[in-house]
């Protein structure tokens, strides 16, 4: 039902049109309208301009640079444009990671058109759960669910962490949980730390120091003896961030050239020992100050100072 347009509305529309015309120019947007009075004291170049629906709807054209997409969407933060939603939804599956990320960011800020039944969010959940979809589609769906920042995505991501057949997708699901600041519906992050695939374990280690409530330090400690040197390195770094005192023995082992051939791993272990600050590591740190690798010696020098050796 359409109401009779009042004079007030006509005035509003007229003003809006003028504003739209002004705002359509990237150089001279009217950035003061509708904002708190204090912003009138600031110059336009300091204030956020608002993208137009036409700019957003044009983002699927073939001659749009990624940086243009990012700019238009960022400046379209508060633009309620239902017709733009299908356009931006397609960008969730763009090959450029930042394009996917900012598209999900824009979509999650919509009041209408995204989170209703059958809409973008639900479609994304379905894509992740649909094993017949290509790996890349499921992976991108996991990325998007993380960036949507809605906890509704935790169950789907948790399930994907455990059961998706693709390690890339499982890793993306872990990253999605990290973005949601969730260790999983039933602590799936711990399971990911023991995944058979190195990339998933690495994703889980990255998440372990960035999810506020993660506390399963033992699962991280177990990885200091991982078969992958990169996993051992990341585990050592995570234990240093966590200042996990129970990991000192394992880190001492990692710090010696006899037990750890990779200098980057030894360096990470020594740094972690310095962070933890347990005097039991003193001998190991002093020994590392004679390591054959210069950067290991540098780490040992720093750790030695931290333990006041």
């Amino acid at each position: 039902m359409t109401f009779r347009i009042s004079s007030l509305f006509k005035t509003t529309v007229a003003v809006g049109t003028l504003l739209l015309a002004a705002g359509a120019s990237a150089k001279e947007p009217n950035v003061h309208t509708g904002r708190a009075a204090v912003y009138k004291d600031l110059r336009s170049e300091s204030l956020e301009a608002v993208s137009t629906p036409a700019e957003i709807k044009g983002l699927l054209a073939s001659n749009v640079a990624p940086t243009r997409i990012w700019k238009v969407l960022e400046h379209g933060e508060k633009l309620e444009c239902l017709a733009c939603v299908p356009v931006v939804s397609k960008l969730l599956y763009n090959s450029n990671a930042k394009t996917r990320e900012i598209s999900a960011w824009w979509l999650r800020r919509r009041i209408f058109g995204v989170f209703g039944p059958g809409q973008v969010y639900e479609q994304t959940l379905k894509n992740l759960a649909d094993g017949t979809q290509p790996d890349s589609t499921r992976l991108y769906a996991a990325n998007a669910l993380g960036e949507f920042l809605s906890l509704s995505g935790v169950p789907a991501l948790s399930k994907a962490v455990i059961s998706d057949t693709s390690p890339r997708v499982r890793g993306a699901a872990v990253a999605g949980l990290e973005r949601l600041n969730s260790a999983g519906q039933n602590g799936e992050l711990t399971a990911a730390l023991g995944d058979s695939d190195e990339t998933v374990r690495l994703a889980a280690l990255h998440a372990s120091t960035r999810i506020n409530v993660f506390a399963d330090v033992e699962a991280v400690v177990a990885l200091v003896s991982d078969s992958s040197s990169l996993v051992r390195r990341r585990a050592a770094e995570a234990l240093g961030v966590m200042k996990a005192s129970d990991s000192v023995a394992g880190l001492i082992a990692l710090s010696s050239v006899e037990q750890e051939p990779e200098p980057a791993v030894r360096s990470a272990a020594i740094w972690a020992l310095g962070q933890i600050g347990d005097s039991a590591a003193s001998d190991a740190i002093l020994a590392a100050q004679s390591d054959s690798d210069g950067f290991v010696r540098n780490a040992a020098a720093v750790a030695g100072r931290m333990l006041r050796l």
Binding site: F3, L8, F9, T12, V13, G23, V31, G34, A36, A37, Y39, D41, E45, S46, L47, V50, T52, A54, A65, P66, T67, R68, W70, E77, K78, L79, C81, L82, A83, P86, K98, E101, R108, I111, F112, G113, G116, E147, F148, L149, S150, N181, T209, R210, I211, R233, E237, V241, M242, K243, A244, A268, W271, I276, G294, N298, A301, V302, R305, M306
Partner: protein, 778 residues
């Protein structure tokens, strides 16, 4: 094939070097003159990876879409030391073939180079230093100073062998916090180490909500930097400075006008407070822009002083050195510049790339060809120094000694987040915002155009607001119909009769201040984040006082606030006052807005009734051009219930309560947020303007009495409303509706703090398990 310096010569080495003039002292002698520059050092960053003679990849703007972006990594970078006499370039990091270098700085004695490097794809960026002379083993001695699973970048030397840099290491109760507008990229904060201690002396500075980039040392001993300022509607990059111990973070320039959105990559000249840098658009220029000179010195009675004046406007302070280079994002007809450094003779060593240097480079998959040049501000000519093919030459520094800045003794050595920072003012009424910038206030008791210094005489409190980004509203997709960040009320400090106020506040976190009048309304909303270290004294002169003048207490030795001691606002994060609109985790949360509205307002303002008449609606409709389907939603004029707004679109309903949408949508529409939609019906007045309760018609309608005089109202009774509102003239509608003064204050605060729907207290926020600053262990 790499182009070398010599390949550009048509007249031989010395001719090129002759173009460098006094730089090399090349006059046939072997050694440079004492005042000459014999060498430069710079980073080589790859953009095109070639394998087996084939182009494997080209990265044009990856990791450089915005001026504050970091994390770009393409293997094959170098740190080159170029001898200008011989043309020979040596790679200091020759043993790191997969490395990338993201910043370069030279020690004051010109014997060491400081740089940040990522050794390979599995590494993170960390701080290193290297000697400029090969050791006995024939290699440049390199020492790594920082370690760990985070990126440390933008390192510079500060006096006393301190090193200051940016890091995305996460700390404090908030844990990992990404920038709201750079999304998953964790915000870069400032940190420092020492040359001898490295990470053992690592110190983390207070946090801002958005990135800090491109640091520079200042002659007065402070560290200058560019900081992305994102506070509600503000979105730009300004210049700031702080002491090397992380205290006294303060603005340097850009708050009161600048020639473009972003000021980045600045460096101080040999004249204190005269700087050179880049002004550009925040995005789409591949971190390049127009060269600018900033003279931030105070001018008193026509005479230039040796003092910083942070309030100089664009025309007063800035001189465009490359006027044909756009300061926006449009294609440049003459290329764009990056990272200037000052040569002893006053010319600038710059990076310059010809061509558009914007998204057109992306579209054509042709990276700008950044090379090192000398820019002569007098002739406006670029003189080539070095430009390799398939790579960018950046962050060039002349290897020449410079004066060591003053050493500012560290006065802040505590890292205990339970030790408060001290915030306050000597006299909140002292301000330069009117006298220098013409800022005025209007609305409620203030006639339009009331000078701010007059209005501030009415300040009775200062509201201290913490800001936080989406990670703190766990599970919320956004904060609501507002551009404001998350907000929590730290406290409202009393302003004493002499204008002073004082409060102990949580350290490390970003906050902003609002001067409050007797009607609980904001007189002035600070549009910059401020923060303090544990134990730091951040007492200002006034409410943005003129910092070229002393700030004196009114006729006594100490202020009244200092005499009575600071108010205590050290509240744990989960206990801070927030105003969740609805859905509070604690059902008994007394600050939930919807609870108040349901109790006091809904009986008259609901789906069917609005005051004395039927509810009215306006409709926002939109056509999906792809499917041909139209969708529309009805928004009530003023329905204060928690009824979900119904959207007609494939049976969709949405959980947003009518109250929130009713109140804030009119302002959102006016801000062009409803562009492209067809609006039919009468759009109501702006019931709620985020961060501006004074101009929010809902508050005007309710009205509020003075805390000093219960007979006095913010809006004089019987006078016309500022917008078409039922009743035509102002009244005490709060009393009619049964709202207490405190309840009206609740609504005022909710609006003044940003009009958010979500906070921490109606989402899944849990504090970070570990505190890497204080060293709490699992």
């Amino acid at each position: 094939m790499a182009r070398s310096v010599t390949s550009h010569l048509s007249l031989g080495t010395c001719a090129l070097l002759g173009a460098l003039g006094a730089l090399s002292g090349c006059s046939g002698a072997d050694a440079p003159s004492d005042e000459g520059v014999g060498k430069i050092v710079y980073a080589v960053r790859q953009h095109t990876v070639i394998a087996d003679g084939q182009v494997e990849s080209i990265d044009v703007a990856g990791g450089m879409g915005q001026v504050m972006d970091y994390g770009r990594y393409v293997p094959g970078g170098r740190l080159e030391l170029l001898d200008l006499r011989t043309g020979k370039a040596e790679n200091i990091i020759e043993d790191q073939p997969e490395a990338d270098v993201s910043s370069v700085d030279l020690s004051f004695d010109a014997t060491k180079v400081l740089f940040t490097m990522k050794k390979d794809s599995a590494d993170a960026y960390h701080v290193y230093w290297a000697g400029l002379t090969r050791g006995a083993d024939g290699k440049f001695p390199i020492t790594q100073l920082t370690f760990g699973p985070h990126d440390d970048q933008q390192a510079i030397w500060a006096a006393g062998d301190r090193i200051v840099f940016t890091t995305n290491q996460a700390y404090t109760d908030m844990g990992t916090r990404a920038d709201e507008y750079n999304h998953a990229r964790v915000v870069t904060q400032l940190a420092s180490i020492t040359l001898t201690g490295g990470d053992a002396d690592r110190k983390l500075c207070s946090q801002n909500l958005s990135h800090t980039v491109t640091l520079f040392s200042m002659a007065d001993g402070r560290v200058g930097f560019s900081r992305w300022e994102h506070l509600e509607n503000v979105n730009d990059v300004k210049l700031m400075a702080m002491n090397p111990d992380c205290t006294q973070m303060i603005g340097v320039s850009g708050q009161f006008g600048k020639p473009g959105n972003s000021l980045v990559q600045f460096t101080e000249s040999s004249t204190p407070y005269v700087f050179y840098g880049i002004v550009t658009n925040r995005e789409n220029t591949i971190q390049a822009g127009s060269l600018v000179k900033l003279d931030a010195r105070w001018v008193k009675d026509g005479a230039t002083q040796d003092k910083l004046d942070m309030e100089k406007g664009s025309e007063e302070a800035y001189t465009m050195l490359t006027p044909y280079v756009p300061t926006g994002e449009e294609a440049s007809p003459v290329g764009r510049y990056r990272s200037p450094s000052v040569l002893p003779d006053g010319r600038l060593l710059v990076t310059w790339g010809d061509g558009s240097v914007n998204e057109q480079n992306e579209l054509s998959l042709t990276p700008p060809d950044y090379g090192v040049y000398i820019y002569n501000p007098t002739t406006r000519a670029n003189e080539l120094v070095v430009n390799h093919a398939h790579s960018w030459e950046l962050y060039a520094k002349p290897v020449v000694a410079r004066e060591t800045p003053q050493i500012i003794t560290s006065r802040q050595n505590v890292t205990d987040a339970s030790v408060p920072a001290l915030f306050g003012s000597i006299d909140v009424r002292q301000t330069s915002l009117y006298s220098r910038h013409g800022n005025t206030v209007g609305g409620a008791q203030f006639a339009d155009g009331t000078p701010l210094d007059i209005a501030l005489r009415g300040a009775v409190k200062v509201r201290i607001i913490e800001g936080f980004s989406s990670e703190a509203a766990t599970g919320a997709t956004m904060f609501g119909l507002t551009m404001a960040e998350g907000a929590a009320l730290i406290g409202e400090a009393k302003v004493e009769s002499d204008g002073s106020w004082l409060a102990n506040v949580p350290p490390y976190i970003p906050m902003h201040l609002q001067a409050i009048d007797e009607f609980e309304l904001t007189i002035r909303n600070e549009t910059t984040w401020i923060q303090g270290m544990p134990g730091e004294d951040r007492v200002c002169g006034g409410c943005h006082e003129d910092r070229t003048q002393p700030s004196l207490p009114g006729g006594q030795a100490i202020t009244n606030a200092r005499g009575r001691g600071p108010e205590e606002f050290m509240v744990p994060v989960l206990e801070r006052v927030e105003y969740p609109w609805a859905g509070a985790n604690d059902l008994a949360n007394p600050n939930q807005i919807q609870t108040l509205l349901t109790a006091k307002c809904v009986s008259c303002h609901n789906e069917t009734t609005n005051g004395n008449g039927p509810q009215e609606f306006y409709t926002v409709a939109s056509m999906n051009e792809v499917t041909g389907e139209s969708s529309e939603y009805e928004i009530p004029r003023l329905d204060l219930s928690d009824r979900p707004i119904t959207v007609t679109y494939d049976r969709e309903t949405h959980a947003w309560p009518a109250s929130y949408v009713s109140i804030f949508y009119p302002a959102a529409l006016e801000m062009e947020m409803g562009m492209g939609a067809e609006v039919t019906g009468t759009v109501p007045p702006k019931w709620g303007v985020p961060s501006d309760a004074r101009h929010s018609v809902l508050i005007e309608k309710l009205n509020i009495t003075s805390s000093l005089n219960p007979a006095s109202y913010a809006w004089q009774l019987g006078t016309p409303f500022s917008a078409p509102v039922a009743g035509d003239v102002r009244s005490d509608h709060a009393a009619v509706a049964g709202l207490t003064r405190e309840e009206v204050r609740m609504l005022i605060r909710a609006i003044d703090m940003g009009g958010q729907y979500y906070a921490r207290q109606n989402t899944g926020f849990k504090p970070f398990n570990n505190d890497p600053v204080a060293g709490t262990q699992y």
